[in-house]
Symmetry: none
Subunit: 216 residues, 2 copies
């Protein structure tokens, strides 16, 4: 079963060229190519792609807005951003919008095909300079090491904090048990101590409390 790819790209030449390359490569099929995002949701619904090649610089709705929309409506579709520029702002927005990869337009067709496959397989191909920017941005934004005073004073043990964190990721008890290599019942026991310490009585309330008090 070939990888279904849709293209959103201003430039007709580039668009047609991509389409030709994809259809000419074993294991790929271009199920749609569009010059704008004006009927984005409709177009995506019709072409049912696994991966979308998204130009970032487009008239009307730009590639980043489009990426956000697509990720909201079709979270499982992977999006590979294509751009001529590599400024921090664009990279940052694209990733926050939910892009799975970020390639410069100067990339060779062969590498683009390879990147498309990598995206499809759950990877995150990025042109070298981009990857480096991402790491820098990451270091800049990630580790403010928040640890509010409540976090310490909440008396949650290390294990309990781990579990609360996973609860805040949306994991259920079975998933947590699996991730932490614990038995289901052990997780439930820990959850009960969390409830006791936070004075709550459900996942629901524990998460709310954790968020509101910036506990994590």
């Amino acid at each position: 079963m070939p990888i279904r790819v849709a293209i959103f790209e201003d430039n007709k030449l580039v668009r047609d060229s991509f389409e030709a390359i994809l259809n000419g490569t074993d294991g790929f099929i271009c199920t749609g190519s569009f010059s704008s995002c004006n009927s984005l949701v409709h177009d995506v619904k019709r072409s049912q792609p696994d991966v979308i090649l998204m130009d970032i610089e487009m008239n009307g709705i730009n590639g980043i807005e489009a990426t956000k929309t697509i990720k909201q409506e079709f979270p499982s579709i992977k999006i590979l951003i294509q751009t001529v520029f590599e400024d921090d702002d664009k990279v940052f927005s694209a990733i926050c919008a939910g892009a799975s990869g970020y390639m410069l337009k100067k990339t060779s067709p062969a590498k683009l095909i390879e990147a498309t496959r990598e995206v499809y397989e759950g990877g995150a191909p990025m042109s070298p300079g981009i990857a480096s920017k991402v790491l820098t941005l990451f270091q800049k934004f990630a580790p403010p090491e928040p640890k509010s005073p409540d976090y310490e004073s909440s008396n949650l043990s290390k294990r309990e904090k781990e579990i609360l964190l996973l609860m805040m990721e949306g994991d259920n008890f079975h998933a947590i048990a699996k991730k932490l290599f614990l038995s289901y019942d052990t997780v439930r026991t820990h959850v009960r101590s969390i409830y006791k310490k936070l004075h709550v009585a459900s996942v629901n309330q524990a998460i709310v409390k954790a968020f509101k008090q910036r506990l994590i």
Copy 2:
């Protein structure tokens, strides 16, 4: 002028093998290989590397601590992390510590050499799964935009927003029904449409999404 590489690696076999490969490849020279980080600063000073291949799992000072120290003492030296594991925690810590790349140990020698060169040239090579994790972590930690467009585009109806809000107060379905003068089953029906629109499958995840996207 060849790229000067130093190796920090527990396993003698792996260490010697890396050294042989580097010295056997044009454009590279191994200027030091060490089995621990016990005399880290001293060793780095002596070997004056451009790039360091750093094993993450080592006795004594581990690779992440070592990376921090090196980046502190010799900011211009690039560090390529090597690991067998790819859990979020390690990836996260390594990048925050200042690593320039993150390769799994199963990577082929050829790709490792290529990654070393890429690091030297200012890139950030990462094994596919790792790069993907980085993007995910990035999205997780990036500062949420103050006015999230998701609020408007979430398409939640008035009733659905009301109910989501009460869920975020920690109310259960019975409590919500009572507060809104609805039947228990009506609340559940609304909750189902909320899940559909937010692409989630539990109270748990709906609340997290609402908080993170500043939906309410």
